[in-house]
Amino acid sequence: MTDQESEGYTMTANIINLLIGGEAGQGMVTIGEILTRSVVSSGYSVVVMQSYQSRIRGGHNTFAIRMGTGEVIAPQESVDILVALDQDTVRIHGEDLSSEGFIVIDEAFEAAHHPCIKVPFKQWGTDAFSNIVALGVVSSLIGLNEELVSETMNKFFGKMDQRTVEGNRQVLEKAFQWTAEQPMSFQRLTRIPNPPDCLVMNGNEAIALGALSAGLKFYSFYPMTPATSIAVTLAGKAERMGIIVEQAEDEISAINMAIGASFTGAPSMVGTSGGGFALMTEGVSLAAMTETPIVIVVAQRPAPATGLPTRTEQSDMEFVLHAGHGEFPRAILAPGTVEECFHLTRKAFELSEQYQCPIFILTDQFLADSYRNVKPFDITNLSPVSPGFHGDISSLPYRRYSITKSGVSPRLLPGGSEHLVVVDSDEHTEDGHITEDLTVRRKMVDKRLEKGSGIRKEVIPPQIHGDERPDLLMTSWGSSKGAVLEAASHVRSRGKRVSTLHFSQVWPLVPEQFIDHLQAARDVVCVEGNATGQLARLIRRETGFFIGKRVLRYDGLPITPEYILRKLIE
């Protein structure tokens, strides 16, 4: 972003955007994670944006931490502190430096014309230590407490022998000292007296924890970026939590396994990305037909096909909405924050158990990998879902698909009672057996679709913020939530009446919840991480309201406030 373009975007006081850049394998993520944790422990708010390539060593990756004393809700493009672990980082990100920005760099590298601090990274030990030097230098620059950083680092590295711990500590200390001695003035973050207890986690971890809190018992998957870290998180806790995490031979197996597990009573979830989800679509239809609860996480990345496997995009909404042959109800939750990842995953389990159908969580690489500070979840009052039917089966023999007004039939678990449970992927009678009776067919279609009415009643209304009769209303969904809110407040600060309409659930849409707002706005623009404006199209389909203006991003990077502001000017 050139200075000119960023004009519209004024830095908020007491916010620092730090970006670490380097090759894969240089330990950038390690510095980044320790730093993030230290920053949060110091009471600041963070939004992390990770950007990496589909390779294990080399290339160019970045780990950006935007931190602040107030609430930080979005990533930022302009960089205040650029930690360059290689020369490429200077080349690629030098131009992103903000007016007060500078580069932290090894003395061996060139900073071109940019302001910089050259650090003797190798001075205090081997290569292995230079990451700790970098950590120390930036921690000191930001104004973090050395002791706190040291502790965070030790906790992060886990069990190590005393000598290593001591060695690390010394290097960190020296880095702090060296930095203090440098003749430079940089606006540190204001100290926060009694920092509140906060968790640090990314979107995928929050989904995993949300699922555990909802009583998840079975997770099956086939590895696929950016969904894999859900599996990693769950696998690491599986034994302790008494759940099964199984890597399947392919995605088809993953979803069918989860359906099998759910059928016998285990709250089940699968996670994947676009291409893997494509392979699951037949299973989605199976879950719908057999009325088996299942939660499906689709972590989006740029497509078609393999696309950009490690980048972000919001281009699978329509695919997920229509995935699976035939017609059946579903819900699609699209968390906008890490907290929402947790809570909407819980909601997904509740909906799926209640309506016995597939429920989706639609996230993306940006949110999946974005660490944030979150207030500890109070799980004391959160209960797990309780699969199956708990009342009396009044009419015998038991009929798995007995036709009810709500479309929801009493679900028993095989082995859980005296009754036999029969389910079928063919059209079936109330007792679950294959049928070719076309009258029954019609009734069963109606029954299944009727569940949609129930789901509709539980839709999360879109969040509306800002002025009442705005000149500009921005609609958005999913992970761009913070960026849109922040962009709106910037526009507002320039005197424009502006509001935002953000969807954390994109299906079903309930027009009454938002149509007035759309109609009240002079201009409506939809902000989406795709090339065609999928939400805008869906809104028109459901309400007739046409949104002609679009801020779209599809280069693999997340939507930022600056991006929106640039595009609004264009």
Binding site: L199, S253, M257, G260, A261
Partner: protein, 283 residues
């Protein structure tokens, strides 16, 4: 005590004379001989003529997608290891569409029994070649004859050291039910490939064809000897061995998951204390 009547009698959608009837009969017998009550047993099937079989049994049934019964069975068994889980489906279902799951099930060695009605043809879709159709087999879709070699599920299973590998013939109901009973009793993955005449679409591999070529393994055959087993497994064509071809005591998949020792994974609960501790780790 459980009797064959407990497993019910249903009208079927099969052709008169189909080998499926004897298999159904043998399955019932095996269940009774195993002393299993209907509600202890879950049958999982796919789509095909064979896959309709569970609808004709008074048991728990999950009739899923074509080719995907093994994954469903795997999930169901892991979630409730107390159920006896049996997959019953066709050769197309298991070796065609579901080929990858067949390999994975063998590798896992989960305690699931797989009964394949192997009629060497796709019957429900009206007679295309199946993976087990012999090279040269002619159908409307393969008017020049099948160009691929036939898949020998028994050989592949033995090569992969599957826990229990057997072949049986629908024409010998007693032997078949014996074999099924053994397969159910085996702790680990067990395959019973059942030669099943299809009177409507396979006019080559008929009852007589199987009858003539198949022979029972002798009493002194040792199914635990892999070297012997792989050779026997390789036989097809003029001589088709019947019986338990291979068997071992490989560790059970379930044993790798301590949690499975604690009964079904049924939801409705959550270890709040542990989860709170886990949350702490994110500080």
């Amino acid at each position: 005590m459980v009797t064959i009547n407990d497993y019910g009698t249903y009208e079927t959608a099969w052709c008169p004379g189909c080998g499926n009837f004897s298999i159904l009969e043998a399955v019932k017998q095996a269940l009774v001989k195993s002393g299993l009550e209907p509600r202890q047993v879950l049958f999982v099937s796919g789509i095909g003529q064979a896959a309709k079989a569970p609808h004709y049994l008074n048991v728990h049934v999950f009739n899923g997608l074509h080719g995907r019964s093994l994954p469903v069975a795997t999930g169901a068994k892991l979630a409730n290891p107390q159920l006896t889980v049996i997959v019953e489906s066709g050769d197309g279902c298991n070796y065609g569409e579901g080929g990858n799951h067949f390999l994975a099930a063998i590798r896992r060695n989960i305690d699931v029994t797989l009964l394949v009605h192997n009629n060497q043809v796709y019957a429900l879709t009206k007679g295309q070649a199946s993976p087990t159709s012999d090279e040269g087999f002619i159908t409307k879709n393969q008017p020049g004859g099948v160009a691929s070699a036939a898949f020998n599920p028994v050989a592949v299973a033995v090569a992969m050291h599957a826990g229990f590998v057997a072949r049986a013939f629908a024409g010998l109901v007693d032997d078949l039910s014996d074999t099924i009973q053994q397969a159910i009793a085996h702790r680990g993955f067990s395959l019973v490939d059942v030669l099943q005449p299809c009177v409507s679409f396979n006019k080559v591999n008929t009852f007589a064809w199987y009858k003539k070529r198949s022979y029972p393994l002798t009493q002194d055959y040792d199914p635990t000897d892999w070297n012997a087993a792989i050779k026997v497994a390789d036989q097809w064509g003029d001589r088709i061995p019947l019986g338990v071809i291979y068997r071992n005591e490989r560790p059970l998949f379930e044993k790798h998951f301590p949690v499975l020792g604690r009964g079904p994974l049924t939801g409705g609960n959550m270890d709040r204390t542990t989860l709170k501790k886990i949350m702490e780790e994110y500080k």
